[in-house]
């Protein structure tokens, strides 16, 4: 199982992160100083490393403004980075304290982006049966972010817990 993370390149506007940050201020929370956003794709199936690299670079990443990281994930949820676009850093670009919130759809909720990815992978000429899950990853920067504060941000802004679940780490 592979996980592809697509993030904004340094020097390009991280508009989704900036929007989230402004919404966080709107909640009256001032402990968070910056937000970086990236999109996550988990691809499952009998697929080779070369193919996953093609999917990441040719399909999911806008190479001008975005970069990517590819991780191999095992059944226990452990992951290691096995490839990346040029000099992409793994854990965000700012050398400060940060927390990560990941948001995923709950089981059974229609994931239309994943349907489009599956179709596009086929169009790329990769004729393998795959499953795709899409998610959102937010790096939240701030001195020491309390779990309750992160829960508030997750519930009030990032995840609609009716259809999505979130993980803080």
């Amino acid at each position: 199982m592979f996980e592809i993370e697509v993030l904004t390149k340094e020097g390009f506007k991280n508009s989704r992160g900036e929007h989230v940050l402004s919404d966080i201020y709107g909640l009256g929370i001032e402990d968070i100083t910056n937000v970086e956003y990236s999109t996550l794709y988990v691809v499952e199936g009998d697929i080779s490393f070369g193919e996953i690299e093609t999917i990441a670079s040719e399909l999911l990443t806008d190479k001008v403004a975005e970069s990517y990281l590819i991780r191999r994930r095992d059944a226990e949820g452990n992951s290691e980075v096995i490839s990346k676009f040029s000099d992409t850093k793994e854990t965000g670009r700012l050398n400060h304290n940060f927390s990560v919130i990941e948001v995923w759809y709950k089981k059974g909720v229609t994931d239309t982006v994943s349907e489009s990815v599956i179709k596009a992978v086929k169009d790329l000429g990769i004729a393998k049966k795959i499953k795709v899950k899409t998610g959102h990853k937010y790096h939240l920067y701030g001195k020491i972010l309390q779990k309750t504060l992160l829960n508030t941000v997750a519930k009030k802004l990032l995840a609609n817990t009716l259809i999505q679940k979130y993980k803080i780490h």
Binding site: L27, T110, K156, N160
Partner: protein, 814 residues
């Protein structure tokens, strides 16, 4: 009947009344005791218990959403005015008011009204134009993005499913929301913040509409704290359809083809859920997620199949899913559906879930067996899944099978006509509206009120929303939502005009879309709310160049719980206004929808939303070149106000920002207004009007300011020259006093337009206006100063037009 293990029998034959109600509640059926008893008696006659799928089918078919039980039911209405009570029984409120007006008006250009997925009027000798507006309130409260996206997706399918399918040309959207800047601590627990809802619903419409390649051209957003928990999301679509494709036919032996998205567990109980109050336990499965890419492919392929005459009827899978779509198509002859043939997103769905799922992007077609291979091929070429799931019979029964076993077998007649008509009580007390104490304000107070009005949420620029939408795609939007000098300097257009020249080659005609609503008026007087909404929608359309004789309208009611006699009473009053005003203006209703039960509980206390009637208007104009926009065009041009300004500040935006007590809600005077509307059309047709703007929220002051700042021009207005009611007819009546400058500037009287005329056209213009009430009130100036002056009252308001533009522009920026 033989049942599979996946289908359960529901034992209702021996249930007591309490148990029947409990069963309805537990299974989210939303059926009343009376209805449950009828169901029990039906199955008693059949000498068997129903299956779960049969119960679910009945619940869907009889839901408020599908059947409009309240508007078509028996209503015992009592009205109290000045201590006197009058009673009236309505056997079918809809048929006796809104529908009745359309029948009596009997316009030959109305091609299909109140019988299909949308209303259709004539565009030209070969084509009709269809319009439909839907609500998607409860899903949007729970998941704003998905709710509004599927709202727009659903109404687009209504247009695809009208007749044999219309080609969508434009979308509209109207939201009623809480204040997006509200303090987070004031939001009830478990409820999304209005800002989150607003961002969600706007991006939902944006992502679905833009990806479908349909421009979103008209709409509005209304803010009131009453919509924090239960926001309203209205979505509309207009499309063009050849006249020979308007009628559907379903024949014995025709096959049932389901096309588009696969069926999953999403959206189960959407139709019955719309009749349940919102609370924290609201069902997860009620959420639907849209996929515009699939719908776009369905659209492209089905229009091809339509033009090849490959099917006889089509309808969309909306609320109630297949149960509703197949049930509607086959209600006169009967149908059999093999549920195991329905393509699924994933395994594990039970037969009843397949049958009522509201999974999106599905359409149902009626296909003659000889065309089945060909039509499947057309869809497959566009990569759209099309599967035959059953056929139409002639046994007048609905039969459902799963793996060869019959899981439902009911009479169509019972299903569609068996619903008992309960009597609902309605009560309305007409409250007396008194003119407020004279509003005496000095120049600087009026000046700052004007800036506050322009910045008010219900008047300010909605650019943040409008510019997220593609309102240009298809290249046919000729009058656009924002109008002015450039991107920084613009004002609010009254209506949109679509010029469908790519679809109908060589045409000069255009389609005007506009809307009107004002829930604030409804808090005081629901009759005037409805009447004003109709007039506002008409005025908006007329202001850009529509001919009031060729406008049709749609009604969309969003009210609280109709079991509350006072709420139902205000609904009855509103429908009465619809009849009166539709008749008086000779403007027919062609379609409509109601969403009732918009209520919610906080800490055990029940709240209803402020009632709303949204009126959406669609007009056909002869020549799109004869349209005008609202910004002033040239220095030195003269400014006229048409219509009478009355002392009508009740429910106005001014009354809200100034905490004014009392005031009369604006009334509608159709004979005055209709005459003016016709004359404006003549003047626009003769190219005599440079700019025209509807005068509504915020009154003359706001309308004139908008016309000036959107052109980066100045204007000088003589307040004393405005025709006011007291001047005209009532000087002798003693009781009616002369209006103060603030009252003249901010009154929201209906029936008024501000128009700009070239000095050398003045004579011709005045000749056309003839006996109508109008007056010259000023001129466009080159100094960029907006000036309103009354020598009589010694008042002079002077503001820089850029300052006013900024006041209007900067409120909403999320």
């Amino acid at each position: 009947m033989k049942y599979t293990t996946k289908c359960e029998t529901i034992k209702i034959l021996n249930l007591s009344n309490e148990q029947l109600l409990e069963l309805s509640k537990k299974n989210l059926l939303s059926l009343s005791l009376e209805e449950m008893k009828v169901v029990r008696n039906y199955f008693k006659k059949l000498k068997r218990n129903p299956t779960d799928i049969e119960m679910e089918t009945i619940a869907q078919t009889w839901s408020e959403h599908c059947k409009h039980k309240t508007l078509t039911g028996l209503i015992e209405y009592t009205e109290e005015e000045n201590g006197k009570k009058t009673r009236r029984i309505y056997n079918n409120l809809l048929k006796e008011t809104i529908f009745k007006a359309s029948i009596e008006l009997n316009k030959t250009w109305c091609l299909s009204i109140f019988k299909d997925n949308a209303g259709i009027i004539e565009f030209d000798s070969k084509n009709g134009v269809a319009f439909k507006v839907e609500t998607h309130n409860h899903p949007s409260a729970l998941e704003p993005y998905g709710g509004s996206a599927t709202g727009i997706g659903g109404v687009i399918r209504d247009i695809l499913g009208v007749g044999l399918g219309a080609k969508p040309l434009a979308n509209t959207d109207v939201f009623c929301l809480g204040d997006p800047n509200m303090e987070a601590s004031k939001i009830p627990k478990g409820v999304h913040h209005p800002k989150r809802i607003m961002k969600g619903v706007v991006s939902g419409v944006r992502d679905y509409g833009n990806k479908m390649g349909i421009p979103t051209v008209n709409g509005t957003t209304y803010f009131d704290d009453g919509y924090i928990v239960n926001p309203l999301v209205y979505c509309g679509t207009m499309g063009i359809i050849p006249k020979n494709k308007i009628n559907k036919k379903v024949e014995f032996g025709d096959l049932i083809l389901v096309v588009g998205g696969r069926t999953g567990r999403d959206g189960i109980h959407g139709a019955t859920f719309s009749s349940i109050q919102l609370d924290k336990k609201s069902a997860v499965s009620a959420v639907q997620i849209g996929n515009p890419i699939i719908e776009k492919k369905v659209l492209d392929a089905m229009l091809k199949a339509r033009d090849l005459n490959l099917y006889r009827a089509v309808t969309d899978c909306g609320a109630g899913g297949l149960s509703s779509a197949v049930g509607e198509l086959g209600k006169k002859i009967g149908a059999v559906v093999y549920l195991d043939k329905v393509p699924l997103k994933y395994d594990g769905l039970r037969p009843w879930e397949i049958w009522i799922s509201e999974a999106q992007e599905r359409m149902v077609f009626t296909v003659s067996p000889k065309n089945i291979e060909k039509i499947i091929e057309v869809f497959e070429k566009e990569d759209v899944e099309a599967v035959c799931i059953g056929k139409f019979t002639n046994d007048k029964k609905l039969t459902l099978t799963y793996d060869g076993n019959v899981v439902a077998n009911m009479d169509m007649k019972f299903l569609h006509n068996g619903i008992p008509k309960p009597t609902k009580r309605a009560f309305y007390k007409v409250s007396e509206e008194k003119i407020q104490k004279p509003i005496e304000m000095d120049s600087s107070e009026i000046s700052s009120s004007l800036a506050s009005l322009l910045a008010d949420l219900n008047i300010c620029s909605k650019e943040w929303i409008i510019r997220q939408y593609d309102h240009e795609v298809q290249g046919q939007t000729v009058v656009k939502p924002l109008q002015g000098n450039n991107i920084e300097i613009s004002g609010p257009g009254d209506a949109a005009v679509i010029f469908p020249y790519t679809v109908i080659k060589g045409t000069k005609k255009g389609i005007v879309l506009s809307n009107g609503l004002n829930p604030q008026y409804g808090k005081i007087n629901s009759y005037k709310m409805a009447a004003s909404a109709i007039e506002e929608a008409l005025r908006n359309a007329v202001a850009v160049g529509a001919d009031v004789r060729r406008i049709s309208i749609l009604d969309n009611f969003c009210f609280g719980n109709p079991n509350d006699p006072e709420i139902l009473g205000s609904l009855v009053r509103a429908t009465k206004a619809c009849y009166d005003v539709s008749k008086a203006f000779e403007v027919p209703f062609i379609s409509g929808k109601d969403s009732l039960h918009n209520e919610y509980f906080i800490n055990g206390k029940r709240y209803s939303i402020p009632s709303v009637l949204l009126i959406s208007a669609m007009g056909v104009i002869e020549n799109v070149e004869n349209t005008v926009t609202m910004p002033f065009k040239k220095n030195g041009n003269k400014i006229f106000v048409l219509g009478i300004t009355r002392n009508e500040l009740g429910g106005s935006v001014f009354s809200k920002i100034s905490n004014m007590k009392g005031g009369a809600v604006p009334n509608v005077f159709p004979s005055e207004s209709k005459d003016i509307m016709k004359k404006i059309y003549s003047a626009i047709s003769e190219n005599l009007i440079e700019a025209c703007h509807d005068c509504s929220e915020g009154g003359i002051a706001v309308a004139v300011s908008e016309m000036a700042f959107s052109a980066n021009k100045g204007v000088k207005i003589d307040i004393d020259a405005v025709n006011i009611y007291s001047h005209l007819e009532c000087e002798s009546e003693g009781g009616i006093r002369i209006m103060t400058p603030a009252e003249i500037l901010f009154s929201e009287s209906n029936g008024r337009f501000i128009v700009e005329i070239k000095p050398n056209n003045e004579e011709k213009f005045k000749k056309i206006l003839g006996g109508a009430v109008f007056s010259e009130i000023g001129y466009v100036s080159d100094d960029k100063e907006v000036i309103f002056e009354s020598k009589r009252s010694n008042v002079k308001i002077q503001q820089n037009s850029e300052f006013l533009l900024n006041s209007w522009h900067n409120t909403i920026n999320l």
